[in-house]
Amino acid sequence: MDNLIEVKNVTYEYTDEETVHTAVKNLSLNIKKGSFTVILGHNGSGKSTLAKMLNGLNKPTLGDILVDGINTKDEANELEVRRKVGMVFQNPDNQLVASIVEEDVAFGPENLGLEPSVIRQRVDEALKAVDMYEFRKSTPHRLSGGQKQRIAIAGIIAMQPLCLVLDEPTAMLDPKGRAEIVSTLIKLNHEKGITVILITHYMEEAEKADRVVVMNDGEIISDGAPSEIFKNVEQLKAVGLDVPQTTELLYNLQKNGFSVSTNVISIKEAACEIASALHSEEK
């Protein structure tokens, strides 16, 4: 598989009241086409800064970011990069421009200067892809947080990006809304082949990803398949992250001398792990 995004030795600095802060430190990361990556990290770990660099909203202080071969630093490519890498933010209320759902979704394609009939088609498709087609005539402020966030996703999808970057899209949602967003993203990834980069601090959401990248202090501290990452409960806790309760349970059992491994997340797997540990004790 090809790399869609290449982050090469990127450092990001910003000045606040004359002190220079480094939000991202000499970071390198490749994102493969069609992959589903979760970036975990506590607030201030640099994950949002990184996200905003992926579509050129922030430009690296040092190093380069290539999106589909295009350097984000080049002003001339600005619109091209934004179209290829769509961004969804935390607060769904603050991303919606129009007071009718379908007109909001049309905003991106309209900015791209597409033909009205093409826009119509893309808007309908995008709304169907996030299961919000029946709400196309509604007004956003009467929808739930999860629904609003799905509209925001549709607004990006309608621009037909190659990659979707979501900066804590579930932080302000209730469990139902969170589940809606995660399943929408999985669907878009599987069915439309859109590359997804999901930034979150909810571990449960990392479970379904191909790859989990953990950030701390502007650096990547671990990178691998979810089960690999979850094994290191102590490391995750040390950087202010939580683990799913199943992992927490298995970790505590391990500390109490049970021979269980902590690299499973689902309830069923956890139960099997515990059952086999109990059986082996019997023998």
Partner: protein, 269 residues
């Protein structure tokens, strides 16, 4: 109380009025307002009232919704009626006290003015209930197109964008204001009693958080719009194209007919 503001609240239906091209609707609404003002005697005004009533019925928006808008403006209506009660001249004197007299002419005038204002409110509510805020904004932008040729292109677009965003965020900000008000009340803030100065002072704990949150929302929105390739409207197309149709012609014909009758009644009587 704040939640009763339904300005910019579209009422979904598929009536004749809903289907009329928003540009045509705006122009006709302005014409209607002019005719209501032109209606110089009771006959032409009653004809206007009948026509406005027809519009309201055809719009298929529940009458309750119209009355709700009327309720908000009721104080103004009553005030106008009372002032005019004493202003009217002629007719028999019904009541006289202090320096004020009420004559039959006064009652006539008071009714006339109140009806006129009520009709204006009904007409503008009919427009906002049957047209989505976005259609309204688009129509205004289109109607202002001539300005683009005298070098105001970006100004027209900016104005339209501002209106769209304002309409989108009014309900959000009302909700937010209510939340902040409740939060400060929960901290013992007294918003209901005291003199004017005290009441204005009591608003500070509400206005400052509201301002801060609006600034935050604005900067979030700007970022989100940038991510959606917004470029100041350069090269922007629209999904919804406005087409004038047969409906528009019929509606226009109806308005022209009504208008000529108003003028006729004015001249004849």
């Amino acid at each position: 109380m704040l939640k009763d503001i339904t300005f910019g609240q579209y009422f979904e239906s598929n009536s004749l009025i809903h289907r009329t091209d928003p540009r045509v609707k705006i122009v006709l609404m302005i014409a209607l307002i002019v005719f209501i003002f032109v209606s110089g005697n009771m006959f032409s005004l009653l004809l206007s009232a009948a026509f406005v009533l027809l519009v309201l019925i055809v719009s298929r928006v529940p009458f309750k919704m119209y009355l709700k808008n009327m309720k908000a403006i009721l104080p103004v209506l009553i005030f106008t009626a009372i002032i005019n009660l004493f202003y009217g001249e002629g007719g028999t004197v019904l009541l006289s006290f202090w320096k004020l007299t009420v004559t039959t002419g006064g009652i006539y005038r008071s009714f006339f003015m109140a009806l006129r204002i009520a009709l204006l409110i009904f007409v503008s509510s009919a427009l906002t209930y049957t047209t989505t805020p976005n259609d309204l904004t688009d129509a205004i932008e289109k109607l202002l197109t001539p300005l683009k040729f005298i070098g105001l292109k970006s100004a027209v677009h900016t104005l339209a964008m501002m209106m769209t965003i304002a309409l989108r965020f009014i309900p959000t900000l009302i909700e937010e204001a209510e939340k902040i008000m409740n939060a400060q009340k929960a901290r013992g803030a007294d918003l209901e009693s005291g003199g004017l100065v005290q009441r204005v002072k009591a608003l500070i704990p509400i206005l400052i958080p509201l301002l801060i949150s609006s600034v935050r929302r604005a900067s979030d929105l700007a970022e989100a719009m940038e991510c959606r390739c917004y470029n100041g409207g350069e090269g922007k197309t629209r999904m919804k194209q406005m087409h004038t149709s047969l409906t528009d012609i019929w509606v226009t014909v109806a308005c022209v007919l009504y208008g000529s009758f108003v003028v006729l009644l004015n001249i004849l009587l």
